[in-house]
C-alpha cells in the first residue's frame, strides 16, 4: 500500500529548474515511486495531485511555499526520502566549483574577445590550415602555421596575399619562433638581446638561440619561415620579409640566417638582400658549399659556428676538448649511430663528421652524405622525418618514439658510439633526460654521447637535465656540434 508524505516549507523560494533537478534525485531513491519538490502555486499543486504525490498538507500550501511531495512503497522509504529532501535543500548554497570558462570557437570570436592580439598560431590538419590562415590574415593578424601537409601552391598564394597585406606568414611546417620575447610552439626561454634569427628549421633555431643565450648573448626575435620558404616554388617570400623586419628593428644589431642549402636562385636573391642591409649577417646553410657573400655577411658551416660568430667570436663550450673527454670514456667500436629528434641537429652532425673526412649515411642526407645503409658509413637518423612520424607524435613531444631505435642500436654489435640530442623548452617533453635514462638501462659497453639543446630558464632546466644524463654515465657535450666531435673522438681513441 503506497504511502504519501508531504512537507511544506513556508515562504521558502527556490527556482523551478533547480527544484526539478532535485526532484529527480528524490524520485530515484529506493522504494520511492514518485517524488517532486515544487513551489505551491495552484497549477503546480495540480501537477503534483495528478502525479499522486499530494496530500492535505501539500494541498494547503500557497504560491510562496515550497512543497515536498513523496509517494513511496512504505512509510520507512517515505521518511528516508523526506530526510534526503531536507538534506538536499540544505546543500543548495554549496559552491558548485564554477562551470567551464568560455573559450572562443573561431578566429572571428577570438579576435573579438582579444582585440589587441596581432598573431595567430595555427595547428589544424593541413587541409584546413590555409583557410584558417586566410581568416587570420584578413583580420590583420600575422600568422604562424605549425601544420604541415599543406599544398605548396596554397603556400605560395597565401604568402603572396600576406605580403600584399604586410603580414608575416611563418610556415607552414614552422615549429619554432620567438617574437618579442614570447616563445611560440617549440621554443626556449632565452634572454632578450640584440641578435635576430631567421630560420627555415625549428631545431636549428632552437640550438642557435640556446647557445647564444647560454653564452652571454640574447635574442631580439627568432622568425621561423617554414621548411619550404627557400624553395623555388615559394622564392623566399617570408625570409625576405623577415630580413626587412629585422633590418628596421632598432633592437636587432646582428642577423643570423639558418637553413639547409636553398635553391641557387633563391639563395642569390636572399644574399643580394642581405648585402643591402646595414647590419652584419651570419649565413648558416647547414651542409652548403662555398658561396660568395657581400662584405657584411659571413658564411659558417655549423649551428655552433653561427652562434659563435653572432656573439662576436665568443667560444661556445670553451675548455671542452673532445679528445680529452673521449679518453675518459670506456668502450670500443668505431661506428657511430646517431638518433636525432631534431632534423637540423642531425644535419649539423653530418657536417661535423664529413669535415673530418668520415663517411656518413642518413635518411635525411646533406650534400656529401650517403644513404643510410651505405657500407662502412656512420649512421645518423632523423627520427622526426615523415617516415617515422606517420600517425605518431614527433619524438620531441613523445620520447618513446626513439625507444625502438635505441634498443636496436644497443643490440647492434657494429655500433660503438650512440649519439643523441636532448631538446628542452616549451612544447617538449617535461623530462626528456629522465625518460632517456629510465629507458636506456644497460648500454652493453657502448659509449653514449648527448647534447642538451636548452637553457637554464627552460621549464626542464638545462643543468638539471645534464646532471641526470651524466649520473647515468652519458657524456654530455656543450653543443650538438661538440657532441658529434666527441662521438668521433671516441671512435678514434684506443681504449
Amino acid at each position: 500500500m503506497s504511502v504519501v508524505v508531504n512537507e511544506v516549507l513556508r515562504g521558502f523560494y527556490l527556482d523551478s529548474v533547480a527544484l526539478l533537478r532535485m526532484s529527480q534525485t528524490l524520485a530515484a531513491l529506493d522504494g520511492v515511486e514518485e517524488a517532486a519538490m515544487m513551489m505551491g502555486s495552484p497549477s503546480n499543486r495540480e501537477i503534483m495531485a495528478d502525479a499522486g504525490i499530494l496530500d492535505a498538507t501539500g494541498e494547503a500550501a500557497e504560491g510562496g511555499d515550497l512543497v515536498i511531495g513523496i509517494r513511496a512503497e512504505n512509510q520507512e522509504a517515505a521518511d528516508l526520502a523526506l530526510t534526503e529532501a531536507r538534506a538536499v535543500l540544505e546543500q543548495t548554497s554549496a559552491a558548485k566549483g564554477g562551470g567551464e570558462t568560455w573559450r572562443p570557437r573561431s578566429i572571428r570570436s577570438a579576435v573579438k574577445a582579444m582585440p589587441e592580439a596581432n598573431f595567430a598560431l595555427i595547428s589544424v590538419p593541413g587541409d584546413f590550415a590555409i583557410s584558417e590562415a586566410r581568416k587570420a590574415l584578413r583580420r590583420g593578424l600575422h600568422v604562424m602555421i605549425f601544420s604541415d601537409n599543406v599544398p605548396v601552391a596554397d603556400e605560395a598564394a597565401l604568402k603572396q596575399e600576406a605580403l600584399d597585406r604586410g603580414c608575416l606568414v611563418m610556415g607552414p611546417d614552422c615549429g619554432t619562433a620567438i617574437i618579442n620575447g614570447t616563445p611560440l610552439a617549440f621554443a626556449n626561454a632565452v634572454p632578450r638581446g640584440s641578435i635576430g634569427v631567421i630560420g627555415a628549421s625549428g631545431t636549428g633555431i632552437q640550438e642557435v638561440t640556446c647557445l647564444i643565450g647560454e653564452n652571454g648573448g640574447g635574442i631580439s626575435h627568432a622568425i621561423g619561415v617554414g621548411g619550404r620558404d627557400l624553395s623555388d616554388a615559394i622564392g623566399g617570400i617570408t625570409t625576405l620579409m623577415a630580413l626587412d623586419l629585422l633590418d628596421r628593428d632598432p633592437t636587432t644589431q646582428h642577423i643570423v640566417l639558418i637553413s639547409k642549402p636553398p635553391s641557387p636562385a633563391v639563395a642569390a636573391k636572399v644574399i643580394k638582400r642581405i648585402g643591402a642591409s646595414s647590419k652584419p649577417c651570419t649565413v648558416c646553410f647547414v651542409g652548403g658549399s662555398e658561396m660568395s657573400l657581400p662584405s657584411n655577411a659571413t658564411a659558417v658551416p655549423t649551428l655552433k659556428a653561427a652562434a659563435e660568430n653572432a656573439l662576436g667570436g665568443t667560444a661556445v663550450g670553451a675548455g671542452f676538448d673532445p679528445e680529452d673527454a673521449a679518453s675518459a670514456l670506456r668502450g670500443s667500436g668505431t661506428m657511430i649511430r646517431g638518433l636525432f629528434s631534431g632534423g637540423t641537429l642531425c644535419a649539423e652532425a653530418q657536417v661535423v663528421l664529413q669535415s673530418e673526412g668520415e663517411a656518413v649515411g642518413s635518411n635525411t642526407p646533406v650534400p656529401g652524405t650517403k644513404a643510410l645503409d651505405a657500407e662502412g658509413a656512420h649512421q645518423l637518423i632523423d627520427l622526426g622525418a615523415d617516415e617515422y612520424t606517420q600517425g605518431r607524435p614527433h619524438p620531441m613531444i613523445e620520447p618513446s618514439v626513439r625507444d625502438d631505435a635505441l634498443t636496436a642500436a644497443v643490440r647492434d654489435d657494429s655500433v660503438g658510439v650512440i649519439l643523441l640530442d636532448v631538446v628542452l623548452g616549451y612544447g617538449a617533453h617535461a623530462d626528456p633526460a629522465g625518460y632517456l635514462v629510465g629507458f636506456l638501462g644497460d648500454t652493453a659497453g657502448k659509449r653514449v654521447i648527448a647534447s642538451v639543446t636548452g637553457t637554464e630558464q627552460d621549464p626542464q632546466r638545462r643543468s638539471a637535465q645534464i646532471a641526470t644524463l651524466e649520473k647515468a654515465g652519458i657524456a654530455v657535450a656543450p653543443s650538438n656540434a661538440d657532441a658529434a666531435a666527441l662521438a668521433l673522438a671516441c671512435c678514434r681513441t684506443k681504449t
Partner: protein
Amino acid sequence: MERIEHANKEAVGRMLAADPVLVDVVTAGDVIDGLGERVILHAGPPIEWADMCGPMRGAITGIAVFEGWAPTLEAAEEMAASGAFEFRPNHHASAVGPMTGMTTLSQPVMVVENRKFGNRAYCTINEGLGKVMRFGGNDAEVLDRLRWLREVLGPAMGVALRDTGGIPLKSLVARGLTMGDEMHQRNVGCSGLMLRELAPALAKTSTDTAALSESLAFIGGNDQFFLNIAMAMGKAIMDPVRDIEGSCVVTAMSRNGTTFGIRVSGTGDRWFTAPVEMPEGLYFPGFTEADANPDMGDSTIVETIGLGGFAMGASPAVAGFVGAGTAADAANYTRTMGEITVGENPEWTIPALDYLGVPTGIDIRLVVETGLAPVINTGIAHREPGVGQVGAGVVRAPMACFEQALVAFAESVGVA
C-alpha cells in the same frame, strides 16, 4: 563577400532600429486576411493533418469545437482527416503562436506595431499554465477559458491599450533582462512590469468590477503572460528584415512538432526544413522523456531576435536543464551564440556578463562554419493530445536547415 556583409549590416540595422509597441487587442478575423470559416493557423512551417503530432491534432480538434465548426472533438477529427479545414502557418499571416499556436477568426489577438516601419504582428493571449490548448489541451475547461479570453480579457485589454496609446516594449524587455528574464522560458519580470503598465488602464476603462478583478488575477497569476507579447514583438521586429538581397541573416525560426523551419532574408519566403529534435530537459513528477513530444511552436522567433536561449546568461537557472547548470554555463551559451551572430544589441544587455549585448542577427554561414546550431529554451508537451505540459528544456535548431539554406543562398548570390 562585401555585398553580403553590407546586406547583413542592413538587416541587423533594421532589427536594432525597430520600435515595437503593444497597441491593441482585436478579433483575429478582422485583421488577418483570409482568416474565415474553417481556416486554422498553426505554429511552424506548412504541414498537413496526416503529419501532425498528437498535441497539434488535439489543439485543432479543440479549436474547431470552440469555433463551432464541429459539435464534438471526434467529429472535428473526422472533418480534419477529410480535409474540411484549411491549415496555414501563422507566419504567413503576420502572426505567431506558442506551441500548437492555434489562431482562428473569433479569437482575440494582441497587436504589436513596429512604429519604425509601420508593420504589425499578431499573437493570441497566453492561456496560463496547466492544461491549455497550446499544449494540446481541448477539454471543456480549456474551451471555457478561451471563451473568457474572447469575451472578457481580450476586449478589456483592447480598450485599455487604446486608452494608453500603446505600451513600448523594447525598454520593458531591457528591464526584464536585468531581472532574470530571457523572454522564452522566463517571463516573470516582464509579466510583472506589463501588469503594472496595464492595471491602471484596465481599472480606468473598466465598467465591471468583477471582470476587472478576474482580468487582473489572470494576468497576475500567469508567470508566462509576457511570452506571447514577446513573440508578437519578435515577429514585428523581423518582418521588415525580410527580403534584403544578399543578406544571410535568419528572419524566422519555427516548429510544428514535426518539422523545424527557418527563413533567411536573402532567400525570401522559402522555408528550409528538417525534422525537429527532441529537447533535453527535466520533467514534472509522473513524466519522463518517453512522454515528450518533439519540439514545437513559433516561440523561436524570440531566439531569432537574440533573446531566449541566446540570452541565457541573464537567466542562469535555465542552464539547469542541461547538466548541473552553473551561472557560468548559462553565460557560455550566450557567448557561444556570439559565434554565429552578426553583432550585439546595445539596448538589450546582460548585467552579469558585464553588460554584453544579446547576440543578434543569426548568420547562416557562421552556423554551418562553426557547427554551432542556435540554442533554444522550450517547454515540452506530452506526446498525447489533451494532456498538457510535461516538462521544459533546451533544444537545438537542426543543422540541416542551415546547410540547405546556405546552398540556396549561395545560388541566390551567384556563388554556387
